[in-house]
Subunit: 216 residues, 2 copies
DNA sequence: AAACCCGCTTTGTGATCACAAAGTATGCAT
DNA sequence: ATGCATACTTTGTGATCACAAAGCGGGTTT
């Protein structure tokens, strides 16, 4: 037999490991906008050759997580106000739909989990941990949207998050939060009540409110 | 001086040429769903080594234009009914928004151009040219959406088109068209009248109608 | 007749190298 | 002191190669 001698230990290709690590850093605001990086530098950090470093970088470029000069150098993007507005509008469109599709499947266990995540977010705020806050905030949204059973839409939403990652950190610096975003409470309340219009509005507001500050 | 000795002749990197050609084939339904391809095969066809072939393939995988087995083999995706429904919903969401943003900027020159494209579409239908039909149909949509001045949204819409490419060909085979899709006429009419609700409905219908047939 | 095992072939992965273009700093001339 | 040309360094691109794993037959055994 022995089809899979070590099912728990998936070796994970080198380029994939590099990709995933960089993706997390970018999505959760670990890297500031405009930060440049070199293929050799990436390879050195992950102890791999240029080949997998290049593949990971190009994949992130394809997803809009990194931008590329005409000479092939990569860096995190510095988004214009117009682009931020577009991405916020995309978040609103897609995530409202995802929430709406998740609503009929949202049982009590899911709502309790969302409330748990909300207390965790409050933790990150108290600790002034920008990266932790962004990651946990996105986890709140992802947990809800997973219930929509719509992987293609969720992938699109995550791609938008990825493009906004470095910018979200800059945002966090400006609006020095003191408490949990209250739209999260509204989302949970609408889920409990089965209130679809209320849910749509709450999600749209939560997704839009922060980004508005960056457009000016 | 001579900053740019040959401004018209941009050499275009090998991997980019491969990428663009494959992307066109996929988006316009030149390749059937489930079609497998090898990196060495791609390299051979374009007379390049495996390196740029691999980059082009992985970029297309990142955009959802190709799917990949766990062992790294690539092929055009065979979409499930659920996934087609999701992608159709995404088209509706994004393209309705793009059309709505294009409306206030749509002048007579644009409308005339759209009508020209419509006659061209009728041509492709008469000629029974599936690939030509799909390409020209998407050109109609792209021409309209370009006026929205929303590059991030347009890129998202095109990514959805790309994912649906191989499936669109299969669709074309089923609904043996005899005449121009009448929603295209409705779109032009709504643009002329400045009728935003009508435009939204026409775009949503045009985008949704064909795909419905594939879900069953 | 069907299942299985073992060989060869095909194929993706990653490292290394040569090369060209872009970027950067140095030094000279005005 | 400033502008510019030139040499050097850094960096991405693409080709080639070694390797391991996956796919694919054919042949044997039960």
């Amino acid at each position: 037999m022995l089809i899979n001698p070590r099912p728990s230990e998936i070796p994970a290709a080198a380029h994939d490991r590099v990709y995933r690590t960089l993706r997390s850093r970018i999505m959760y605001g670990d890297i500031a906008p405009g930060q440049a990086m070199t293929l050799r530098g990436i390879g050195e950090e992950f102890e791999v050759s240029m080949t997998p470093a290049r593949e990971a970088a190009r994949r992130l470029v394809a997803e809009g997580a990194l931008s590329m000069t005409s000479s092939g150098r990569v860096s995190t993007p510095e988004l214009s106000g117009e682009r931020i507005e577009e991405l916020a509008a995309l978040r609103a469109l897609i995530e409202v739909e995802l929430a709406s599709r998740a609503l009929p499947r949202a049982h009590m266990a899911l709502i309790e989990r969302l409330q748990m995540i909300n207390t965790s977010i409050a933790d990150q705020i108290a600790r002034q941990d920008a990266v932790g806050y962004i990651r946990t905030n996105l986890e709140f949204h992802r947990t809800l949207y997973l219930r929509a059973q719509a992987p293609a839409m969720l992938a699109m939403a995550e791609q938008v998050w990825l493009q906004l990652g470095p910018t979200m950190r800059a945002l966090y610096g400006r609006l020095r939060r003191k408490e949990l975003p209250h739209f999260h409470r509204l989302i949970v309340a609408a889920l409990k009540a089965g209130d679809e219009p209320g849910l749509r509005l709450a999600v749209r507001s939560d997704v839009t409110q922060g980004l508005k500050m960056l457009v000016r």
